[in-house]
Symmetry: C2
Subunit: 269 residues, 2 copies
């Protein structure tokens, strides 16, 4: 069981964890925070990733299985007061468990060899909730990896981690490549590069009908407000838009990505 | 142009608008609030729906076309101070335009005759942002109407209106029918009733392959956390689940609805 309860947010271990809410510290310490029992369970499944577990007395009872599993894995468990947990956690109703994890991202090369069949790229995606939702959807649709380019939000942003609902721990995530070098690298391993854009010359239905989606594919999704810049649209093999049949002006990013990724999943099976 | 600027939140017109943030007053006054230029533009396109327009001096200049169009349509325009607008608006950064509109929902019978081909039903959807996102997606996918059952969030909730991105004004919305009477009514006009549920016996791919989705269809979507109750699963013609190919436990509601509705749109065309 955890030792004495930490009740001060000035405790060095609490301070060290708390500053991981900032990207600069996450990069420096190579660690991030993941909240809640689901995230703790997923982190435990990846040996060595869970480096510290904060818990409240109440959560220690409610999630005794997870706390015991963490201790069995040699992970230090620190019991904190409800106030300290509220300071550490970023959700309004923290569930009393907070994991400090080592970063999970992998080098780009490792997801391109052997050649994948379905890859998701987030380029210029700025909203962490949207990014996490697309990560979760990519996982569900069977994508083999998700690449966050350097112009996108940090995959370890707390909101992104939460919106991913565990998927950050499920499939390889690449963080930070520049889009300019990325597109040739994707193409070099045999992927057809499709840029998702409502103004595309090809509709998703046309892409399905032409058999385009049965090829190994990298989908690139852009900014929630303004989409993808001209250089990406030009560099892609095709610009594909989800058709709008009614009067909506557009789809939101998570919705459009879901329709595209599931269309690929179906076409490839 | 608008007359003297209202600077007090105790002004009777401001108070009357402000209370529309509460469902009870929306029901009583048969009015709701819609924020921002896009909503004002959509409301103006429906004759008689926009009954009052609040604007800041700045927005009156920036959106002069909309303010003039409202005046030309005989809509009272009330200029308010930035402070009053901040009190009236529910967004963090109000865009200086706030429309008071008459409710736009229609009776159930009106969307079932002539028989529709694609209908979306929200049953037990409680999060207004999710509901608005599904409304927007249903519009984009060409659904002919969206039905909010009595156990779902109010379609006029401010977050739902915003998340719908104008779609509340685009297609007929039915508010408040009880699900028990609804399913027989949907079936009576020739619709196949599909309940979306991850635990369904039929996968979406099977449903497509069997030709199920090319029939006139009503899709029922359930609660974000616990899905659909047993009586709806039993009453539906089929329970259909979006397949999970990777390791995600589930899809979020908006994502699952997008995949289902676009699969229907494609199958029906």
């Amino acid at each position: 069981m955890a030792g004495r309860e930490l009740t001060s947010i000035r405790s060095p271990r609490v301070k060290a964890a708390r500053r991981l809410a900032k990207r600069a510290f996450r990069r420096r310490d190579r660690r991030f925070l993941a909240e809640g029992p689901q995230a703790v369970r997923e982190a435990l499944a990846l040996p060595g990733r869970l480096v510290e577990l904060f818990t409240t007395a109440e959560a220690e009872t409610r999630h005794a299985d997870l706390v015991l599993a963490a201790e069995a894995a040699g992970v230090p468990v620190l019991r904190v007061s409800g106030e300290v947990m509220a300071e550490l956690a970023q959700t309004v109703t923290p569930q009393g468990l907070l994991a400090v994890c080592e970063l999970v991202d992998v080098p780009l090369e490792s997801v391109l060899d052997p050649a994948p069949r379905l890859v998701t790229v987030l380029a210029h995606v700025r909203d962490p909730g949207n990014a996490g939702t697309v990560l979760r959807t990519a996982d569900a649709a069977g994508a083999e990896s998700v690449i966050f380019t350097d112009a996108s939000v940090d995959p370890y942003n707390g909101k992104c981690v939460r919106a991913s609902a565990g998927s950050l721990f499920h499939l390889p995530v690449v963080a930070g490549p520049r889009i300019g070098a990325l597109i040739p690298a994707l193409r070099a391993c045999g992927l057809t590069v499709l840029a998702a854009d409502g103004g595309g010359d090809t509709t998703l239905d046309d892409a399905i009908d032409k058999g385009l989606l049965s090829r190994p594919t990298a989908w690139i999704f852009g900014n929630e407000a303004w989409g993808l810049p001209a250089e990406i649209l030009e560099a892609a093999d095709e610009v594909v838009g989800v058709p709008i049949y009614g009067r909506a002006e557009s789809l939101n990013l998570g919705t459009a990505a879901a329709v595209c990724l599931y269309a690929s999943a179906r076409a490839q099976r």
